[in-house]
């Protein structure tokens, strides 16, 4: 049976890493991620894992070392936040195009500037077109579960893409909650032996990784990469199914919460989903048909599935914890509204940008969103697309 423990999000992910026993971990400290790798380095020092730990001199080096190790055929991991992810940028794209199944926990933090250490999603949203699978977590349990699942997804031969598993900085990473972890043997079995495709260390079959690839073949390789992302959706669902058999905890591309008969619905990612569920429960008691769609997998983006899940709703609010500065909306809204295009008598859909730089989001804020939605549903139209929630202006 699984083991009940009290852990912070960072501790939970460090524990997952200990159980997954990666061959190589390379990392650099950055708030609020630091603890994950720091705790893990303790496991290395105490001989609980035989991981090669490389404490590099920057995140650019962390991702480079991880890519090098993965190309050699190792299971390689790193973790980061915000500016650390930004500094990795060049190699983040390279990891994906080299088709290296690296799993990277990212503890969401506002990307500078102005400099800030608290949660928003601007860091990982910026990397949404980097070719990485992106899985968001609502709490420490999900961060743990998603990390274990990410490895199986990434390493699937039909996928071979790196995966980011995110959790909200401080809100999840530093808050302790009761959760369940698996026994070490079960995780060992779950992750299995990694058999890399074309590893550099297979000296009998020498390969070149990362050579110049111009207009003669580059486009075919990018097309293959895009196809891998398409294929990953089925793999994510299959892995979730297997994980449910192992743990009883069931995951999908997103979670539908009281959505079936909902007239108004909120789409949200990360820890705010927990707050929103409280509000949905309250509204339901008051007879309001409120529902919630918690997006778990942002890359690949489950457009058709979202459209099917939301098409009956009268009004939808997307909650974006980052801005895309496209002068229209946040990034999640753009994708969700695009997914809804073509749906017969599509619901009205609006965007709320909230929680920037760690700005607190309370049930009152979310209640206001549902109130607005009730109004929009009654009138059949919205006056404006975008509202900044809880801002002084």
């Amino acid at each position: 049976m699984s083991i009940r423990v009290a852990k912070t999000g960072n501790e939970a992910v460090a524990e997952a890493m200990r159980q997954m026993r990666p061959d190589v971990v390379a990392a650099y400290p950055i708030t609020p991620q630091t603890e994950i790798v720091q705790i893990f380095s303790g496991f290395v020092a105490d001989g609980l894992v035989d991981t090669e730990m490389v404490t590099v001199e920057s995140e650019h080096s962390a991702m480079s070392a991880t890519v090098g190790a993965a190309a050699a055929g190792a299971r390689a991991m790193t973790a980061t936040s915000a500016n650390g992810l930004a500094l990795m940028w060049e190699i983040v794209y390279i990891a994906a195009s080299m088709r290296l199944p690296i799993v990277m926990p990212v503890v969401n933090r506002a990307l500078s500037g102005p400099i800030n250490i608290h949660c928003d999603h601007s860091d990982t949203m910026g990397a949404r077109d980097s070719g990485w699978i992106q899985i968001f977590s609502e709490n420490a349990q999900e961060a743990y579960d998603n990390t274990l699942q990410a490895l199986r997804i990434a390493e699937n031969p039909n996928v071979l893409l790196p995966a980011m598993v995110t959790m909200d900085g401080f809100i999840i990473s530093h808050a302790m909650e009761v959760m369940e972890i698996l026994e070490d043997e079960k995780v060992r079995e779950w992750v299995g032996e990694y058999v890399p495709e074309n590893p550099l260390l297979d000296v009998d079959n020498p390969v070149t990784i990362g050579p110049l690839d111009l207009y003669d073949w580059n486009m075919e390789h990018k097309r293959q990469q895009a196809e891998a992302m398409v294929q990953s959706k089925a793999v994510i669902l299959k892995v979730a199914e297997d994980y449910a058999k192992l743990t009883g905890r069931r995951y999908g591309l997103f979670e539908e919460y009281m959505l079936e008969d909902a007239e108004v619905a909120v789409v949200v990612l990360g820890s705010t989903a927990g707050t929103a569920k409280v509000v949905v429960n309250e509204l339901r008691k008051q007879g309001v048909k409120a529902g919630l769609l918690k997006l778990r997998v942002f890359r690949p983006f489950p457009a058709e599935e979202i459209a099917a899940a939301l098409k009956h709703v009268k009004a939808i609010a997307v909650m974006d914890r980052s801005d895309s500065f496209n002068a229209i909306s946040g990034p999640v809204f753009a994708e969700v509204r695009s997914a809804m295009y073509g749906v017969q008598s599509a619901p009205a859909i609006v965007d709320y940008i909230y929680g920037i730089g760690g700005r607190d989001v309370t049930p009152e804020h979310i209640r206001k969103v549902y109130d607005d939605l009730a109004n929009i549903a009654a009138r059949g139209k919205a006056d404006r697309i975008l509202t900044y929630l809880g801002v002084r202006e």
């Binding site: 400290p29 630091t34 720091q38 380095s41 303790g42 404490t55 920057s58 500016n83 500078s112």
Partner: protein, 274 residues
Amino acid sequence: MANKFEEYLRPQFMPHIWCPGCGHGITLNALLRTIAKLELDKDKVCVVSGIGCASRAPGYLDFNTLHTTHGRAIPFATGIKLAKPELEVIVVTGDGDGAAIGGNHLIHAARRNIGLTVVMFNNSIYGMTSGQYSPMTPSGKSATTAPYGNIERDFDVCKLVQASGANYVARATVAQPRQLSTYIERAINTKGFAFVEAQGMCPTYYGRRNKLGGPVEMLDVLKKNTVTVQAAAKLSPEELKGKIITGELYQANDPEYCDLYDNLIKQAQEVAGK
């Protein structure tokens, strides 16, 4: 002098983030004392920092200040100096910020010999992220990422900067605030790249982790372990093991980068007949 200090601070941003007993206050004090002594025009001073405990300093200072990204204070400062060579550009950095993630910029700024003053607040650890070992954590010392001791060698950052081409290199500890102040003064007065390593102390992470006692004991250790560069010349490598060599380690008078740049412009204009 006391009033002068107040004029240099932004009390609205106090209290500062540094822990009780942190050595950074002494180094900052030495820097401010120097600026007061030199009677620099507040508006002609620009203090630039990266990320880390030391790099918070400019937030508390009422000069032109720029708090940049991790490791990149020197490139930002290079841009400022080139655009406004008349400014006194002072970089405040730490051992992690300046010798790890920003190490490349440090050696190239020294190589160009651009007229910056870099004060490295060396607390021997990544303090802000709670005590991981840095490239300047002495070998064998403990850190959160090295619970059984650091097996890596630490940088002699002064040798590195000297070898890279700086015009002035000095080191003092926070147990010698007057020397520190003197060296910062000479660094500011140096034409070309000037570097002062301020060996500080982090009682919270480095000290506690390595059982070095409180701030007072750590200051004592700094005093006992310090050898002047003149005395060091007469000691064997064995005798110098674990010692901190302080003093003015190198001085040169090589041409400064902004001057070379201006000369080039003049030459080009002459060739073009303008």
